[in-house]
């Protein structure tokens, strides 16, 4: 099971408070979709959802080659890392420069154990969709009650 992690908990709370103050729409994307850079820890932006069988993580990683994205699952933590490379910048006059380039790394602690052998990921239109099937022991079991 997941360790009790005070810092993570505080971070989540801080984020929730921030969200509550900043946005009225739930999970409305504020600011740019993707600014890589080690140390921010906020990118890529993710959504986490679950059903009975699996957890689903969606991450916004536009402009990356799928092979440049590193995914690993260890002890209930999902790590996403990679790099968005800069194109050639010869002889250019910049008018706007809002899209970041560089490396990123983000860890997501999953709420329950997953079967790391069966994790699948798909990259489509700049969005990475990861499916993490729950470990058998974590899935809810229906127990039928027999009447005597």
């Amino acid at each position: 099971m997941a360790r009790w992690d005070l810092f993570r908990e505080m971070d989540m709370l801080r984020r929730e408070v921030d969200e509550a103050f900043r946005s009225f729409g739930m999970g409305q994307l504020l600011g740019p979709a993707f600014i890589p850079g080690i140390g921010t820890g906020d990118y890529p932006r993710i959504n986490l959802s679950e059903d009975n069988d699996a957890f689903y993580v969606e991450a916004l990683v536009p402009g990356l080659e799928p092979q440049d994205i590193e995914l690993s699952v260890m002890q209930g933590t999902l790590t996403l890392s990679g790099e968005r490379k800069e194109g050639a910048t010869n002889q250019r006059t910049w008018h706007r420069r809002e899209r970041g380039t560089g490396k990123f790394l983000r860890t997501i602690e999953l709420p329950a154990a997953v079967d790391s052998e069966k994790v699948g990921a798909e990259y489509r239109n700049g969005v990475l969709a990861i499916t993490l099937p729950k470990a058998e022991a974590m899935k809810p079991k229906k127990i039928s009650v027999r009447a005597n």
Binding site: G25, L29, L48, R99, Y123, G126
Partner: protein, 129 residues
């Protein structure tokens, strides 16, 4: 966002932008750069498929709209983004040859290449003896 306390050079030719209701649209991040031949705009539009992207150039106003379909199954536990529709508008400089515009959407990134009209391109003038 990031330009708090920073003095940014206002660039009059491209600085005029249309702003829509902020909580219904996502404003995509863009890079705009100029070379001798072209003006190139690169926009991050994760989640937008080709058929849901609409680029319109009319009377010097460039409008980028992108819709997002789909989303992860299941019950949300934690969300940092909701993708509905991207929207951003730019006023382009006059020296753009609108007929020679090419757009490419790859891996959620739009690259729009706008050709400069002949008058706007730098020309080297030879000096005759």
């Amino acid at each position: 966002m990031a330009d708090k306390g920073m003095v940014t050079r206002q660039d009059t030719s491209l600085a005029r932008e249309g702003v829509r209701v902020p909580d219904t649209y996502v404003r995509p991040a863009v890079d705009i750069y100029e070379t001798e031949e072209n003006l190139t705009l690169v926009a991050d539009l994760p989640g937008v498929a080709k058929e849901d992207l609409d680029i319109n150039l009319e009377r010097g106003i460039l409008t980028i709209r992108g819709g997002v379909k789909g989303g992860a199954p299941g019950k949300a536990l934690f969300r940092e983004f909701t993708l509905g529709e991207y929207f951003r508008q730019f006023q382009l400089p006059d020296e753009i040859d609108a007929d020679k515009t090419s757009a490419e959407l790859k891996k959620g990134v739009l690259t729009l290449t706008l050709a400069k009209s002949a008058a706007a391109k730098p020309r080297r003038i030879e000096i005759k003896h």
